[in-house]
């Protein structure tokens, strides 16, 4: 087990700069998720940690040692690939023990280690099969077994669940989390699925175009996004980003937006000091769907500041546990999360509660957070 520190990492392919100064560190036993849209450089970052791609400049430390120039097999890492990358010609047990065989570990010890791992992952009865005879979930387990048996200091996962069907993906997600808790190992995990990121991580790094947009705990990323990209990317349905004007009314500041029927809807803003310099200018207000809700769903949180507004609902999307009401504010579609038992119908005007303590504001041009 070891920590991982990346400082000032650059990577270019020819003239194309893929990673532009990455600084990251994860403590021993942490679960770091790299998340971002495709092409943001997250897989490249993982490959540089593994040593499968050379870095242009910067430093990667595993534990206290720089791994610069070290061969992938000498870095004390193990990697689980998106396609599982099992050796098609070998049986499951040969797949798991191939690494040990390369290290020249003798046969008895190898089969002992294989048995132990197979036991942990409940794949003992599959040991003599070829990968082509396994289902997707079983292949996934074997791929993890091949990683675990190396007893690495850092595990690298490259979108390991994206080839599984939806139900299995959720099961395996739980399994990976359980594995992490049991092994207590450091894990770096790449995904484009923000739910995976939220559920698994102890730390999330959101990447875009080779730069880290925000690095923090899932709670911070979700509740305090540092820019509009992070706000929009994390969460499903994603955060509502509503354009509107900052107005000074008497002594207090208000955020005003227009509803679909043309009337002004204004929310009082209390504790965002940065907004004072934006008076009479357009800003973007970010508000999570669950912060626009009906009365029944409002948690009785005495310190949350709420306002009640009556608004017209365009579309209603029942989803079982919740009902999503879609309305129009500030020229944008806005999603509100209502109680699953709500009997709202489209074209109706309903009372909605805005939870003001969960609103954030962004500069319209720079897309950065106004604090």
């Amino acid at each position: 087990m070891a920590s991982l520190t990346i400082s000032d990492l650059y990577k270019s392919f020819g003239a194309v700069e893929v990673l532009k100064g990455i600084d990251l560190s994860i403590e021993d036993g942490g679960f770091l998720v790299l998340v971002g849209p495709s092409g943001c450089g997250k897989s490249t970052l993982l490959n540089t940690i593994a040593g499968l791609e050379e870095i242009t400049s910067g430093e990667i430390m595993i534990g206290d040692n720089s791994v610069a120039g070290l061969h992938p097999s000498k870095r004390n890492i193990a990697m689980v690939f998106q396609s599982y990358a099992l050796y098609p010609n070998m049986t499951v047990s040969q797949n798991i023990s191939f690494g040990m065989e390369m290290q020249g570990i003798d046969k008895d010890e190898r089969s002992k280690a294989v048995d132990k791992v197979a036991d942990t992952l409940q794949i003992s009865e599959l040991l003599d099969r070829k990968p082509s005879q396994l289902s997707g979930g079983q292949r996934q387990r074997v791929a993890m077994g091949r990683a675990i048996v190396r007893e690495p200091e850092v595990f690298l996962f490259d979108e390991p669940l994206s080839n599984l069907d939806a139900k299995l993906r959720i099961d395996m997600r739980t399994e990976i989390k359980r594995l992490h808790q049991r092994l207590g190992s450091t894990i770096i995990y790449v995904t484009h699925d923000q739910i995976e990121a939220m559920t698994l991580a102890t730390k999330i790094a959101v990447l875009k175009d080779g730069c880290i947009q925000q690095y923090g705990s899932p709670y911070e990323i979700y509740n305090n996004p540092s820019n509009m990209f992070v706000a929009n990317f994390m969460g499903a349905p994603s955060m509502n980003l509503i354009e509107g004007q900052v107005k000074k009314v008497g002594n207090s500041i208000e955020f005003q937006m227009t509803s679909s029927s043309g009337e002004n809807v204004s929310l009082p803003v209390s504790d965002v000091k940065g907004l004072e310099s934006y008076i009479d200018k357009l800003v973007v207000c970010g508000i999570r769907p669950e912060a626009i809700t009906d009365l029944e769903l409002l948690t009785n949180n005495s310190n949350s500041e709420v306002v009640e507004k009556e608004l017209l609902v365009d579309v209603v999307e029942p989803a079982g546990s919740d009902t999503f009401a879609i309305l129009e504010l500030g020229g944008k579609q806005v999603v509100a999360r209502l109680n699953g038992n709500s009997r709202v119908s489209a074209g109706e005007k309903i009372k909605l509660i805005f939870n003001l303590s969960q609103t954030v504001f962004f500069d319209k041009k720079t897309e950065e957070r106004i604090r």
């Binding site: 490959n47 499968l52 099992l86 050796y87 098609p88 690494g99 390369m102 091949r146």
Partner: protein, 294 residues
């Protein structure tokens, strides 16, 4: 009821077209097999039997003499040796040439897909070009190089020629096959600590069965059937089967022993035939794999 009638007529129609297809196929089968039939039948006839006409008739007296003669006593060039020594020459040439060109082709394909270097596309393009250069163009430069290497007129020289000429094709086959082989598996093997040759030997090669069969058949047939290189670069002691057959059939002195010629031609074609029959189904499978994934 109406639907049933419609279905019935559809079934009838498909039956009709199926019958038609089989008839056409059958005609083609006869058309293709006829030459082989003529060769086989006439190789078991006495010469008089052939002279009396009736190419398609069965022999009036069956005899193995033409085969014996073609194998061990027919006049080839100046020696009454039959085709026997030349078969050995051909095998000595074909087996190493096929082996070396296949091994080199698979290594090329491995490097060109999994260990790409700057300019790998150009290298592959040039190798491809080798597939399209006509034999005749390289004859004189090749003769010069064989002379320089001291390999002129030897079996080793012929092997070299065929390896060089076959490399374009074998590389093409393996490159396309390995291009479809997941690179992540190679990366996983790297992390597991396997080196360049270890990955090739333990991971890639065991999965290359179909394409090896395709390459071997392709190379074997081409090299075995080659005439031009054999005629240009072989000496008395390295003349391959095809040239010997030509010498047998084209001898301008004595009686034309057609029955012996037929037997000799079949003997010369037999090895390729055997290779096809033994591994034909893998050949088709390999070709399909290349077609779908390449």
């Amino acid at each position: 009821m109406k639907l049933n009638a419609l279905q019935e007529s559809n079934i009838n129609k498909s039956r009709m077209s199926r019958t038609l297809i089989y008839i056409v196929l059958f005609v083609f089968v006869i058309y293709y097999l006829l030459p082989l039939y003529v060769m086989m039948i006439n190789s078991f006839k006495h010469l008089d039997d052939i002279r009396s006409g009736g190419m398609l008739n069965l022999p009036s007296i069956w005899t193995l003499d033409p085969w014996k003669s073609a194998w061990s006593s027919a006049q080839i060039g100046i020696d009454p040796s039959g085709l026997k020594p030349y078969l050995w020459n051909s095998i000595l040439m074909v087996v190493p040439a096929v082996f070396i060109s296949t091994v080199l082709g698979s290594l090329n394909g491995y490097v060109l897909t999994k260990w790409q270097f700057r300019g790998h596309g150009v290298v592959f393009g040039l190798l491809l070009l080798a597939c399209f250069i006509p034999f005749q163009v390289v004859l004189i430069p090749m003769a010069k190089i064989l002379g320089l290497l001291g390999l002129a007129g030897t079996t080793s020289g012929l092997i070299l020629v065929h390896v060089v000429y076959g490399l374009g094709f074998t590389t093409l086959f393996f490159r396309n096959y390995y291009a479809a082989f997941p690179t992540e598996i190679v990366k996983a093997a790297q992390i597991d600590g396997a080196g360049f040759f270890r990955i090739f030997w333990r991971v890639l090669l065991p999965s290359s069965g179909p394409i090896i069969v395709v390459t071997v058949i392709w190379q074997f047939t081409n090299i075995w059937n080659d005439f031009l290189f054999g005629a240009s670069f072989a000496d008395f002691d390295s003349i391959p089967m095809t040239i010997a057959l030509n010498n047998l059939v084209n001898s301008s002195t004595g009686v034309k022993e057609y029955n012996v010629h037929f037997a000799g031609a079949i003997l010369a074609a037999l090895p390729t035939l055997i290779v096809y029959i033994v591994s034909g189904r893998y050949f088709v499978r390999g070709l399909m794999a290349g077609a779908v994934k390449g």
